[in-house]
């Protein structure tokens, strides 16, 4: 088991190196450069070249990459070109905001999705099933950034109930919830659809098995039958929940940008347009590390839950 964990962690190193090289190369392949992006539009080429030299951006790409890598090895992600703050601080703040959003939207999607899925399964073919299944299809198919814009138009602009953008500035839980409400709903739509459908089909599978017929024939109350069905479909549901949470963490660039939610997705978007290479590299590196660790954790959890799966 520990050998397995160690090997997986070692394998993460080339993965992260690869990710950072790809990001570095892509940023430099795109026209424009970080210094040109922060310099005034009126400045001439000569002025920009002078500033580039001052920042060390005139050195060959390979040298720039190795310098960056050397610093990262000592735990220094460098400084943002745009804000000159240490990248690690920007990434830390953004990651915290993204985690909260991923948690809140996952929670919303799990609760509603499991509820709707079970409801649909137990009312198969009836109106409630059709409504729940319909909602699931909408959730999966509607682009969430578009849904985000619609939410802003309805709840912020027309009804004036909730703020349209940003994170809360005033202290306290109420302002916080007001700000996170709309991005949470937008980000919950896709997992809501997926979970509803998976839960419905998992529950239907179990419902059609003979032991359920036996339980009913035995005269068991409907509520007790329900408990049995839920318990038996749990492993399948748990797997999809885990997967969806992972997606939530990585999949919020669009939603965060629509709501200006100051998370990693928003930061990534900013960094791309500002050509802020240190920030871009830092965010990608931290996110990639996060995914590697998350995957490992999920694998290990599966082993714990299901002893038939053995990891060597």
């Amino acid at each position: 088991m520990w050998v397995y964990v160690g090997r997986r962690l070692l394998l993460a190193i080339p993965t992260l190196l690869g990710a950072s090289i790809i990001v570095f190369a892509m940023v430099h392949l795109a026209p424009g450069d970080p210094i040109a992006a922060v310099m005034p539009a009126e400045s001439s080429k000569a002025e920009i070249e002078a500033t580039k030299r001052a920042y060390g951006f005139d050195k060959p790409l390979a040298v720039q990459y190795l310098v960056w890598l050397g610093r990262v090895a000592t735990g220094d992600l460098g400084r943002s070109i745009a804000t000159r703050r240490p990248v690690i601080l920007d990434v830390r703040d953004a990651l915290a905001n993204s985690l909260v959003l991923a948690l809140s939207s996952s929670l919303l999607a799990f609760v509603l999705g499991v509820g709707l899925g079970l409801l649909a399964a137990f009312r198969q073919g009836r109106v409630l099933d059709k409504v729940a299944s319909g909602m699931a299809v909408v959730g999966v198919s509607v682009p969430h950034y578009w849904a985000g814009i619609i939410l802003i138009i309805v709840f912020s602009v027309q009804l004036n109930w909730l703020p349209a953008m940003g994170a809360a500035n005033d202290p306290g839980i109420v302002p916080y919830l007001r700000h996170i409400a709309l991005p949470t709903i937008a980000l919950a739509l896709i997992p809501l659809g997926v979970i509803t459908r998976v839960v419905r089909s998992a529950a239907l599978d179990i419902l059609n098995q003979e032991f359920v017929l036996a339980l009913r024939a035995k005269g068991l109350a409907a509520r007790r039958v329900f408990t049995h069905v839920v318990k038996n479909s749990a492993p399948q549901i748990l797997t999809v929940l885990g997967l969806q949470f992972g997606f939530q963490l990585g999949g919020s660039v669009l939603v965060e940008s629509v709501f200006s939610w100051p998370g990693t997705g928003y930061l990534l978007n900013l960094a791309i347009f500002q050509r802020d290479i240190p920030v871009l590299q830092g965010v990608i590196l931290v996110l990639a590390t996060f995914f590697v660790l998350l995957n490992l954790a999920v694998d290990l959890l599966q082993t714990l839950v299901d002893p038939r799966i053995v990891r060597h």
Partner: protein
């Protein structure tokens, strides 16, 4: 289950109740910048940075008078009470500094602060040299090469040649507190707790999210002490985000609302403020290659554009037609021979005179345009209309859209690079705040790329002579006359397709009163009240 729904609904309702009304006199502004402009003195994000951060926290020796909208904003004494060029040595400028001014940290403003600020931009080996800030404004004060202290309240600047443009340069040098910098000895830390002499002081800095400032109650100019208590600046690069934030009451003021939304904003009670200011939106033409090497073709293009249609139908009257580098009524406009109106028949005739013919010798050009960008307005829609206008008279323009930063990078390199060889023009908007930005950098033969940004290249000895003469003319009225003569020549040569001047639209909540939109890129926020 039902109980749960009720509980959930109750929570949802309590969350959705509007928060307590914000404090009296807080002005919240949604900027177009994607980030908070640099607060450590020599600011970034172009003139929006100067508008909301630079000139609010800091001041320069020479300031813009932004209190009126009925004339071009002039330069007036700021932290300097007066200045003059020495008769015996025209490269030496003596500045008398204002007495009794203190920085936000309480330390006094004096000659040492001026020298410190200058060195942070221009003296590479000084411990307080600010690489980043220097990159932002160093080139704006290009002619000034040194400063020395005469006494505590007098300094003398030295220029590399006799030039009357010095006031137009020093208005960008913001004066920072040396005492505050000494506390950190680091510009990034200074930027988080900056100290200037301006009407607002920073109270809270959340990187990439918001900057909060409060009124400087001890500001030296009693008439300009802010009427609001608090100013909050929020970066909102997306126009739709700004619009939603304004309409939902999260901000009181947004820069550049989407033109489509203006009628709807007006009917909802919002104020749209507009005014001319030194901005032009043009196609800069390549003059050493067909078809734009022929003056007749360039004039034809200028007569082909339906500027009124662009402003009225596309941009909801947020711009005015441009028939030159500057707008009519500007001191440099003069009396150009040509007034470029929408006249397709004349355009066709000029094109025929130039020897172009749709079947035998068609006029073809490739123009590089941006998909968005600071000051670019609605580049795609506007350029499609221009393309159609030109097509109607027989000029075939192929538009190549690229991202804004890419356009700027390629433009700086000039037309003569392998990448740009196939191009005939670029579409970039400019400012003409001072003679160098308006004319010198584009139209002087000494400004050819890479020295400056005469990319066309425009070579005209008469223009060179007038630019040089303007620089040697220290009387501002006479200088304006010289520049007007220069402008007449440029309009006649038509090295650009003049299209429109933006009117700098802003949308203000009905709660915001007392704002005067000046003819400038900058604003005075001290007269504003909220509610």
């Amino acid at each position: 289950m039902r109980r749960m729904i009720i509980v959930l609904l109750a929570v949802a309702l309590s969350v959705s109740l509007p928060g307590l009304a914000s404090a009296q006199g807080t002005l919240r502004i949604g900027m177009t910048a994607s980030d908070i402009p640099y607060t450590g003195g020599q600011t970034d994000n172009g003139f929006e940075g100067f508008r909301f951060v630079g000139y609010q926290i800091y001041e320069s020796l020479i300031a813009w008078d932004l209190t009126r909208g009925d004339r071009l904003a002039p330069l007036v004494p700021g932290l300097a009470e007066s200045w003059e060029v020495r008769k015996d040595a025209p490269t030496k400028w003596v500045f008398k500094l204002r007495k009794g001014v203190t920085f936000h940290d309480g330390s006094p403003f004096n000659a040492d602060a001026v020298i410190f600020s200058f060195e942070s931009i221009k003296k590479k080996d000084s411990p307080h040299f600010d690489t980043y800030g220097s990159g932002q404004v160093g080139f704006r004060i290009a002619s000034v090469i040194g400063v020395s202290k005469v006494d505590d309240h007098t300094v003398e600047f030295e220029t590399n040649k006799p030039t009357s443009f010095v006031p137009y340069q020093l208005c960008y040098m913001l004066i920072v507190s040396p005492t505050q910098w000494q506390k950190f000895k680091d510009w990034r830390k200074f930027a988080e707790q900056p100290s200037g002499t301006g009407p607002f002081r920073v109270t809270k800095f959340v990187p990439r999210e918001r900057l909060e400032l409060e009124a400087n109650k001890t500001y030296w100019d009693v008439k300009r002490r802010p009427k609001i208590d608090k100013l909050v600046l929020l970066p909102m690069p997306e126009p739709t985000t700004r619009l939603a934030a304004l309409r939902s009451g999260q901000v009181d003021w947004i820069e550049v609302p989407p033109p489509d939304a203006i009628p709807q904003l007006k009917s909802a009670g919002f104020t749209i403020t507009l005014n001319s200011y030194p901005h032009n939106w043009t196609h800069t033409l390549r003059l050493d290659k067909e078809p734009w090497n022929n003056k007749l073709v360039r004039k034809a293009a200028n007569y082909a554009i339906d500027r009124v249609g662009i402003c009225k139908n596309l941009l909801n009257d947020t711009c005015i037609p441009a028939t030159g580098v500057v707008y009519p009524g500007h001191p440099w406009f003069g009396k150009p021979k040509e007034t470029y109106s929408y006249n397709p028949a004349k355009a066709k005739e000029l094109l025929r005179q130039a020897g172009f013919d749709a079947s035998k010798h068609p006029a073809k050009a490739v123009h590089l345009i941006s998909t968005s960008g600071s000051g670019q307005m609605l580049p795609l829609a506007m350029n499609e209309l221009i393309q159609k206008n030109l097509k109607d008279v027989g000029i075939d323009v192929d538009l190549q859209p690229v991202e804004w930063n890419t356009l700027l990078t390629r433009w700086r390199a000039g037309f003569k690079t392998p990448e740009n060889e196939g191009l005939n023009a670029w579409n970039i908007s400019w400012n003409f705040l001072e003679p160098w930005s308006g004319f010198g950098r584009f139209f002087h033969s000494k400004s050819v790329v890479p020295v400056a940004v005469n990319t066309m290249p425009y070579i005209n000895p008469d223009a060179d002579k007038l630019i040089d003469e303007a620089e040697r003319t220290f009387d501002i009225n006479k200088q304006n006359e010289v520049l007007a003569r220069l402008h007449e020549i440029i309009v006649d040569d038509a090295p650009w397709i003049f299209v429109v001047h933006d009117q700098n639209p802003r949308a203000l909540s009905p709660k915001v009163k007392g704002f005067v939109q000046p003819q400038s890129w900058f604003v005075d926020l001290t007269s504003v009240t909220v509610r």
